[in-house]
């Protein structure tokens, strides 16, 4: 049985940027490969419902800041969810089910602040 080289062109996506550092100066090589453009993202600036849900992601002080914000919003009469949801790890994207749940919220989702 033979195995394919993982480094050969066509197996790995081509590099997006290469530079040349010759004797004179560094020059950017022009990428010859056109890349796909992602579909446009639609952003809703004004939530459909006046309700706030919190999502913490375990960054230092994040939970403290969120609890503080939660208290202020409640004092101002804004509907907030009592439970502060937690994403396991700030370095990983949230699970698809959690993302879909937030997408259906209709209100504002406040996420933990990255440092």
């Amino acid at each position: 049985m033979t195995s394919r080289s993982e480094n050969r062109a066509g197996v790995n996506p081509p590099a997006r940027q290469l530079t040349s550092c010759g004797d004179v100066s560094c020059e950017l090589l022009v990428d010859p490969i056109p890349r796909p453009t992602p579909d446009p993202i639609s952003v809703t600036l004004k939530p459909r419902l006046a309700r706030v849900t919190f999502l913490d992601h375990h960054k230092p002080n994040s939970k403290t800041i969120m609890t503080y914000a939660q208290r202020i919003l409640i004092e101002r009469g804004i509907e907030v969810s009592q439970e502060i949801l937690i994403k396991d790890d700030a370095s990983n994207r949230m699970p698809e089910a959690m993302l879909q749940s937030f997408a259906g919220e209709g209100g504002l989702v406040l996420c933990g602040i990255s440092d």
């Binding site: 062109a9 066509g10 081509p14 590099a15 022009v30 010859p32 490969i33 890349r35």
Partner: protein, 337 residues
């Protein structure tokens, strides 16, 4: 001296997927700018789209590819027409790239530009060791490879492919018996043009002892009709027939171009039942394949599916048949202006 730096840049391109498998000229910005000017474009001009991949192709990509393929800036006007042709959706560039059929883009150059840019149109015309043929053909294949794979998203699936996937450019004799190749697509005789299509590799047709045009056309017709010919099931592609001077001298005595097409269409046929027997016709037949059991079957759906190009050297009695790939039925012919 920047020799070692340049070699390092070549290796860097090779190791990072900016290659067709051969060493490339590194696409330094200064070289790309010069090529852009020669092609008559600004860097960010949109020169085409690969709609199914959400890809917009800008001029700098084509110019960088031309530099990498080794094209001279003086080819710029030709490369402009060629780029537009390559990105014409009718050519189905992604389809050509990924098909199991292993097709390549055939570039046919015809008209005064052949001599102006120094294309080889005689010796080894289908695989000329000439910079213009080699690099223009390579540019087309690199564009197929770079654009057709959706920026690295798609993979090629050619079962065996053919050598033309590295470079496949044929230039026609400036003086022809039957008129310039591009006149078969409605352009005037005096024009210069590039014509593009997706094809399999060429089949050689040897006949050294025939003495009539009909014998030569029968030999060519037989080459269209071997069992392995892809055309049998759909008949959607067609063929390019390459006729060098010695065969042309015999054929042109008895036939004009239209008559030669008619002759091959009428006579190059094979028994449908025999094709079915060896598995070259689906059972039951596919409706659009227009199978007629018991009848003789042509590999051509109509006479227009066969075109003729006059090139090659004197002194050998060979012709060639180039089968089109069945998945892109259109030929794109662009005048070089």
């Amino acid at each position: 001296m920047t020799t070692y730096a340049t070699l390092e840049d070549i290796e860097n391109c090779m190791n990072n997927g900016w290659t067709d498998g051969l060493p490339v000229i590194p696409p330094y910005g200064s070289l790309v700018d010069e090529m852009l000017e020669a092609m008559g474009w600004q860097a960010l001009d949109v020169v085409g789209e690969m709609a199914s991949q959400n890809i917009v192709v800008r001029a700098e990509k084509a110019a960088a590819t031309a530099v990498m393929a080794g094209c001279k800036p003086e080819y710029g006007v030709l490369l402009r027409a060629l780029t537009q042709g390559l990105l014409d959706p009718r050519l189905n560039l992604s389809g050509v790239e990924v098909t199991t059929g292993g097709a390549a883009i055939l570039v046919i150059v015809s008209g005064p530009v052949v001599e102006q840019l120094g294309f080889e149109h005689t010796t080894n015309a289908l695989g000329a060791n000439c910079r213009a043929n080699a690099t223009v053909g390579r540019f087309a294949q690199m564009m197929r490879y770079f654009c057709g794979r959706g920026g690295g998203v798609l993979q090629s699936h050619g079962t065996i492919g053919h050598p033309g996937r590295i470079s496949f450019c044929i230039a026609e004799h400036p003086e022809t018996q039957w008129g310039a190749y591009h006149t078969q697509f409605g352009l005037p005789e005096s024009a210069s043009a590039v014509t593009l299509m997706s094809t399999e590799g060429p089949n050689s047709c040897n006949n050294h002892y025939g003495v009539t045009g009909a014998q030569i056309l029968d030999t060519i017709g037989d080459c269209l009709c071997h069992f392995g010919q892809t055309a049998w099931y759909y008949r959607s592609g067609g063929f390019v027939v390459v006729i060098p001077p010695d065969h042309m001298a015999l054929v042109a005595k008895d036939f004009n171009r239209a008559q030669a097409s008619d002759y091959i269409y009428e006579n190059a046929r094979r028994q449908t039942d025999l094709l079915a027997q060896v598995g070259r016709i689906a059972s039951p037949p596919i409706e659009f394949a227009e199978v007629q059991p018991g009848e003789l079957r042509s590999p051509l759906k109509n006479r227009e599916q066969i075109t003729f190009i006059e090139c090659g050297a004197e002194g050998g009695r060979f012709s060639a048949v180039i089968p089109r790939w069945v998945g892109s039925t259109h030929t794109v012919c662009k005048q070089i202006i």
